[in-house]
């Protein structure tokens, strides 16, 4: 399956207001999705299509908080990134850690460094700075000096 076919399959399964393709080239694609659909789409990729969760990258931009969830399809070496834009004031999104353990640490890290809340996370404790970092200080936010 090449990248184009995989994207067509994904956009065919979910409606166009849910999934918007923002980048598509050989073995790399990025699709912007509505945050409320993250569980359904991640489940489709991981369980039905056999994608592997690599990692998630959080960004703090003018639009608010953004997360790219990177999935790898190892059969053809492509990377599909699901892009979500979260609320500026109280960023939150459903946790994927009940589906696979691979996202457990990174969600805790994003919670710790960016202050993004992961709903229904099994154990949203600090990962890196337990006991030696103040609460509600998020070092990876743009305003942090």
């Amino acid at each position: 399956m090449d990248t184009e076919a995989a994207i067509n399959k994904l956009t065919g399964k979910f409606s166009s207001d849910t999934v918007k393709v923002v980048l598509q080239k050989a073995r790399r694609s990025i699709v912007t999705i509505r945050p409320s659909t993250i569980l359904a789409i991640a489940e489709y990729l991981y369980k039905s299509e056999g994608y592997r969760f690599i990692i998630a990258s959080a960004l703090h931009t003018r639009r608010g908080f953004e997360i790219y969830y990177h999935f790898s399809f190892d059969a053809d070496g492509s990377v599909l990134s699901l892009h979500v834009i979260l609320d500026k004031e109280k960023p939150h999104i459903e946790s994927l850690s009940n589906m696979f353990s691979a996202s457990n640490w990174i969600e805790r890290e994003m919670h710790e460094l960016f202050g993004i809340d992961f709903l229904n996370h099994p154990n949203q404790e600090k990962l890196l700075s337990e006991g030696n970092w103040a609460d509600d200080v998020y070092p990876y936010r743009k305003e942090f000096k």
Binding site: L59, H70, L127
Partner: protein, 401 residues
């Protein structure tokens, strides 16, 4: 109700080369739960990267890990070159692959030695580290450094491998094969190593998929993934080699995968130097004037598994966001599966089996007051503290015989 005992390993422990705290909850000899504290090495590299120019970031990411110091620049170069869209020269491709594979050999030898040491089999430790030394000498000859080679830059490499150096590489690869033969024979046939590693720390295929584990950890459980083949880069699609897998998922299978991978690496290096001889010397760098706006995803297969770099460029001379995922980040989390149910004595080798790299997993030193959130020390105060401590150590005679 049985009484559970907490056995801490770390944060500083003779068995670990880096700080990390593992809390083993034991019922008698059996480990029933494991928790860990990380963050002792967190250096805020992702944040730091946003304040460096693209050229400087290479030196920064090279310092994420001392052992696989080329895998991070490799993945970063792949990501940035994806944004710029340049096609690097053939000679660069081969040189990059040679450095990557030499690194795999020295890293795997280091692991075999440490694994022997953890098992209490110090002969293997002495052998493996002795055999690793000439590989580091090769690095010194090629790059000028035993580690942290500073070879990569956007669009090329900083130094060429002159054709006059190729015979020395060939000679060392031939010698190395004999040494790996000896080491593999000693490890694979040894009843003591069999008894200590077979059936120990098993990770099933499902565990690997659940935790997203990569590299030899995944391949030893029958998950056939390798970025060098799946998402080809540098010279890997241009040479013949195969991905080594095993099915058992135990510590022995991981050792087997690593030992056999060294033969493949030696073969890749030999094929690369054969081609290198025929290519024009010095053709190793393209002139890149600016990095356009865009998003780049770079992957590289480090000795421990897939390294993933995600770079967002806003057109300026430093990354707007740079996300780094080292292989140990997913591999270390599998301890929850591999250690529980094992005896304490086997837990250490199960921990070591994924070749954990804590530096990679955490990428800070800042001192904040826990209750007020205010800075306790600023940078100058930290430096003054460090200088004071150093002078005290000097006065006390530390470091002198």
């Amino acid at each position: 109700m049985s009484r559970k005992t907490l056995i801490p390993i770390g944060p500083y422990h003779p068995l670990q080369e880096e700080p990390e705290l593992f809390k083993l909850y034991c019922d008698g000899e059996i480990v029933t739960d494991i928790k860990w504290e990380t963050g002792y090495n967190h250096r805020g590299i992702e944040k730091l990267s946003e304040s460096k120019s693209y050229d400087q970031v290479f030196f920064l990411v090279e310092r994420i890990c001392g052992i696989c110091s080329t895998s991070h620049p490799f993945a970063f170069a792949n990501a940035v070159e994806e944004i710029t869209g340049v096609e690097i020269t053939d000679r660069t491709k081969y040189i990059r692959s040679i450095i990557g594979e030499l690194e795999r050999i020295h890293s795997h030898l280091l692991w075999v030695g440490l694994a022997g040491h953890f098992l209490g089999y110090n002969t293997v430790f002495m052998w493996a580290w002795k055999y690793r030394e000439p590989v580091l000498d090769l690095f010194e000859m090629i790059t000028g450094n035993r580690n942290s080679y500073a070879m990569f830059k956007v669009g090329g490499v900083r130094r060429d491998i002159e054709n006059s150096k190729i015979p020395a590489i060939r000679k060392e690869m031939a010698l190395l094969r004999k040494k790996i033969d000896l080491l593999t024979g000693a490890v694979m046939d040894d009843p003591v190593i069999h008894a200590r590693t077979k059936g120990v720390g098993i990770l099933t295929r499902q565990d690997i998929l659940d935790y997203g584990a990569v590299g030899p950890t995944a391949r030893a459980s029958g998950v056939d993934i390798d970025v060098r083949r799946d998402d080809p880069y540098a010279a890997y699609p241009l040479v013949n080699w195969k991905v080594i897998t095993a099915q058992a998922g135990d510590v022995f299978a991981k050792a087997e995968v690593r030992l056999l991978e060294m033969y493949e690496s030696a073969s890749i290096i030999e094929q690369c130097v054969d081609v290198l001889e025929k290519l024009k010397e010095g053709d190793v760098a393209l002139k890149i004037n600016e990095i356009p706006e865009g998003i780049g995803t770079g992957r590289a297969e480090a000795p421990r598994g897939e390294v993933f770099h995600f770079v967002v460029s806003d057109g300026s001379n430093s990354p707007a966001r740079h996300k780094i995922r080292a292989p140990s980040y997913t591999n270390i989390a599998t301890f929850k599966k591999s250690c529980i149910g094992q005896t304490i004595a086997d837990a250490t080798i199960s921990l070591a089996a994924v070749d954990p790299c804590y530096c990679c997993t955490e990428r800070m030193a800042a001192a904040y007051d826990n209750s007020s959130g205010k800075k306790i020390l600023n940078a100058n105060e930290l430096i003054a503290l460090s200088m004071k401590r150093t002078s005290e150590l000097r006065k006390s005679g530390a470091g002198h015989e």
